[in-house]
């Protein structure tokens, strides 16, 4: 019960006026960073580190952490409103969130995202307090072999659930994997498929691709219809039916679990949990055909998972000193700049600081909910802007976003190019999600496979010797087998399409 006592004094400190102020400022700044496309949480926190130089370490960490989960929420806003993910982890939110907005339900989508994020964040933080240290040590057993198996399972599940569009999904997956191959070989360092173009040495940027495929493609489609407004449906106040609440609560519970568990594993990143949570909901749903057409639980699952992941990822940072994502690495840099080394010794050396920071996670999540729910209506009203203005605004937004990432025009051309490609694929009814997931998973899969083989001295038997890896590799096979053996159960799935 020592932890509880520490946590209580942590709360007392976190609720002091100064820290409360830092957390509020962090949440607002973070939300802005999330809204700006291109500027993700990692770049955002890195840019804002200097303004925390003059704060005491506790205040600095509280503010940076608030910026982090503020950004995770902020990305949702643009995903729902204009189909442009403000940060990468909100890609999945576009799928159903934007469809909801098209039906005039942008407010409901944003509200369920805020509520899901809140629950995910709070529950993940409770788990952080209860089980942090032992779980984090256990998660380290998850090595490159298991990591590879997890990536394979994730990719297969998405393709496997594509229903009657399975071949198109498979094709898109392969295209995604091929694009992911461009750039330096992750182990040997030799350039691949760069054709002498310097900018391609670092690969094709993920953010420009996503902004093109989703945002610009959407603009082209909308422009074709000669609309006067981006979204033709009437705006509704946010309201969810009883049935939607029921479906969302299940999605939120599962999203929290998926996000937290994957947050423990170093290197997974924030996009994979959102995809997994989304696929899980679709898999469990009685009417999977609603997904991609504005299913509220699709938004709830993705947004909950991404915030639960953000808080879950604090576990390996605080208990082991191992950052599991780029943003967490920036946060760790901030600890170090302030003369603190995150890890087991920090709990012993500075329990006051650690527990105040943990308490501030609770406070920050409450603040975000308070800040965001009333604003839902305001954000949704942006869609009333006449189409011409909004369209130009979105395009400028995308151009600045893709330029700001690396300050090169090359990424802007990539974004515009993929806008056209996205438009064509949409017209041909090809699903985009598998390509996006393949882009994310491809490099991780390749690197983890090669590391695994380096560890085993080149022997593939390592996948048979490690039970977790074997089990993860078996999942996609089982799904495939059930589909073949019990076709009727999956008939419904086939009708649908994972867009």
């Amino acid at each position: 019960m020592d932890a509880l006592g520490h946590l209580m004094s942590g709360f007392a400190a976190a609720l002091s006026i100064n820290y409360l102020l830092y957390a509020t400022a962090g949440c607002i700044l973070g939300t802005l960073i999330g809204v700006l496309p291109g500027l993700g949480p990692a770049a955002g926190t890195a840019i804002l580190i200097p303004i925390t130089f003059n704060l005491d370490p506790t205040g600095a960490i509280i503010m940076l952490a608030a910026i982090y989960y503020g950004a995770m929420y902020g990305g949702t806003i643009t995903s729902v409103l204009i189909n442009v993910p403000g940060e990468a982890a909100s890609v999945v939110t576009c799928i159903d969130g934007y469809q909801m907005a098209k039906q005039g339900r942008a407010g409901s989508a944003l509200a369920i995202a805020a509520i899901g994020s809140f629950v995910g964040g709070i529950v993940a933080t409770v788990l952080l307090v209860l089980v942090a240290a032992p779980l984090a040590t256990l998660a380290l057993k998850f090595g490159p072999a298991e990591f590879f198996a997890l990536m394979v399972a994730g990719l297969c599940l998405v393709v496997g659930l594509a229903g009657n569009n399975m071949w198109a999904a498979l094709l898109m997956t392969i295209v995604g994997l091929l694009i992911a191959m461009v750039g330096l070989d992750p182990v040997r360092g030799a350039p691949r498929f760069t054709y002498g173009v310097d900018e391609l040495i670092d690969g094709v940027g993920f953010v420009p691709i996503v902004m093109g495929l989703f945002g610009v493609a959407e603009l082209l489609i909308a422009a074709e219809k000669r609309q006067t407004r981006m979204i033709e449906a009437d705006l509704q106040k946010w309201n969810l039916t009883k049935d939607e609440w029921r479906r969302s609560s299940g999605a939120i519970a599962r999203g929290t679990g998926i996000g937290f568990v994957l947050g423990l594993i170093p290197g997974v990143g924030s996009i994979v949990p959102t995809f997994m949570a989304y696929v899980m909901e679709k898999r469990l749903s009685k009417n999977p055909e609603r997904f991609g057409k504005g299913a509220v639980e699709g938004v709830a699952a993705a947004e909950t998972a991404n915030n639960s992941y953000a808080n879950g990822a604090m576990v390996p940072l605080l208990s082991l000193g191992i950052p599991s994502s780029p943003t967490i690495a920036v946060l760790m840099g901030a600890f170090i700049i302030h003369g603190l080394q995150p890890g087991p010794f920090l709990f012993k050396e500075r329990p006051d600081l650690v527990w105040t920071v943990i308490a501030s996670f609770f406070v920050g999540n409450v603040l975000l909910l308070i800040l965001n729910l009333p604003l839902v209506g305001l954000w949704a009203r942006l869609l009333k802007i006449p189409f011409g203005y909004l369209c130009a605004g979105v395009l400028i937004f995308c151009i600045i976003g893709s330029y700001s990432l690396k300050q090169t025009m090359f990424d802007v051309w990539v974004m515009l190019g993929f806008g056209v490609i996205g438009y064509i694929l949409r017209k041909l009814d090809f699903p985009l999600a598998p390509a996006i997931l393949a882009l994310i998973l491809g490099p991780m899969m390749e690197k983890s496979l090669r590391t695994t083989l380096e560890i085993s001295g080149g022997s593939f038997a390592i996948f048979l010797e490690r039970p977790v890896a074997l089990a993860l590799l078996a999942i996609p096979l089982l799904v495939l087998a059930t589909m073949l053996l019990r076709p009727r159960t999956f008939a419904k799935l086939r009708e649908s399409d994972i867009e």
């Binding site: 992750p186 182990v187 350039p191 040495i201 170090i336 890890g343 560890i455």
Partner: protein, 323 residues
């Protein structure tokens, strides 16, 4: 607000290139950029940000850190080499990362060692060979004996192919007559997760990454790859003491400007950076991070730059032959 101000600064820095003559009359007359070729939050970045803050005071202008990470530093180094040589764009060069990229023909680097003028070195972080706290390898001898008994089974990890850590493993192969099974990770963090999770046996890393963990007993330092002991780890022997005087490896990080930068501008930067690096505040903050300061400027730094390249050449050629 801050983002906007910084973006504007960066934009004005980029656009105000038209009149270098005026700019040089009183250097620096506007904000400067410091390119870091590694991601924000890493140990290079931490040092760079502290240096940028201290240099701002000396130069009287803002110094903005710009992270251009990717391809083991190659993207950022390319950026530095191709920047306008007016002194307003400086960059952090990590040695021997720059050397090995230049030396590996497959990397097709657009820069050579002559593309940079080394201005001021900040950090020299010696290599450290370490294992998990409860590892059966208590000493360097245990490790070498085990590797001798069963060649190509003890798994040793690096922070990337042709990194200083990879070169250190090759030096150990040569000096101790052993062969490790080499596993390439991307960062010190992955090394930590790999060793703590039992996926690899030993890490070839740098002192700065794990000082605190060695002190707490979480990991055990077997040897510092240097000829003098690290002040942060006075109980860990050096490779020289252990009879391997040829295993000397470190990572140095300092500021450089592109070739062609006027000498008087370089002098201004050199003086300001040296003062910033030698400040008491810098020392205490770098100490806290476990990063050893090694201020070098002018002829000293130039000599180090040239000597290191000779050493790196030998091992890079060897590494290239092995792949």
């Amino acid at each position: 607000m801050i983002i906007r101000r910084r973006t504007l600064l960066a934009a004005s820095a980029a656009s105000a290139l038209a009149s270098p003559a005026i700019a040089q009359s009183k250097f620096p007359s506007r904000g400067l950029q410091l390119v870091v070729a590694f991601a924000a939050g890493g140990s290079t970045d931490v040092g760079a940000r502290l240096l940028a803050a201290a240099a701002e005071k000396e130069l009287g202008q803002t110094v903005t850190v710009v992270n251009k990470a990717g391809a083991g530093g190659q993207l950022g180094f390319t950026e530095i080499a191709r920047a306008r040589p007016d002194g307003y764009t400086m960059g952090f060069i990590n040695l021997p990362a720059v050397n090995t990229i230049v030396l590996d023909p497959e990397r097709k680097a657009v820069f050579t060692m002559d593309s940079f003028i080394p201005v001021a070195n900040q950090v020299l972080d010696p290599g450290l060979i370490w294992v998990k706290g409860d590892s059966p390898f208590k000493t360097m001898k245990d490790l070498v004996d085990a590797a001798k008994k069963a060649p190509n089974t003890v798994r040793a990890c690096t922070t990337g192919i042709l990194s200083d850590d990879h070169l250190a493993i090759l030096m150990t192969h040569e000096a101790a007559g052993v062969e490790f099974r080499i596993v390439h990770f991307d960062s010190g963090v992955q090394q930590l997760a790999g060793v703590m999770g039992g996926h690899v046996d030993v890490a070839f890393d740098n002192v700065g990454s794990v000082v605190k963990r060695v002190q707490s007993g979480e990991v055990r330092g077997l040897a510092v790859t240097d000829d003098v002991r690290s002040p942060f780890l006075p109980d860990v022997p050096t490779t020289k003491e252990l009879g391997y005087p040829t295993i000397i490896s470190s990572s140095t990080r300092g500021v450089a400007v592109p070739k062609g930068t006027p000498a008087d501008v370089v002098k201004v930067l050199e003086a300001a950076l040296l003062k910033a690096i030698n400040s008491a505040d810098m020392k205490s903050k770098m100490d806290a991070a476990g990063l050893a300061l090694k201020p070098m400027v002018g002829a000293d730094y130039a000599k180090y730059y040239a000597d290191l390249h000779k050493q790196a050449t030998k091992y890079t050629e060897w590494a290239l032959k092995m792949r």
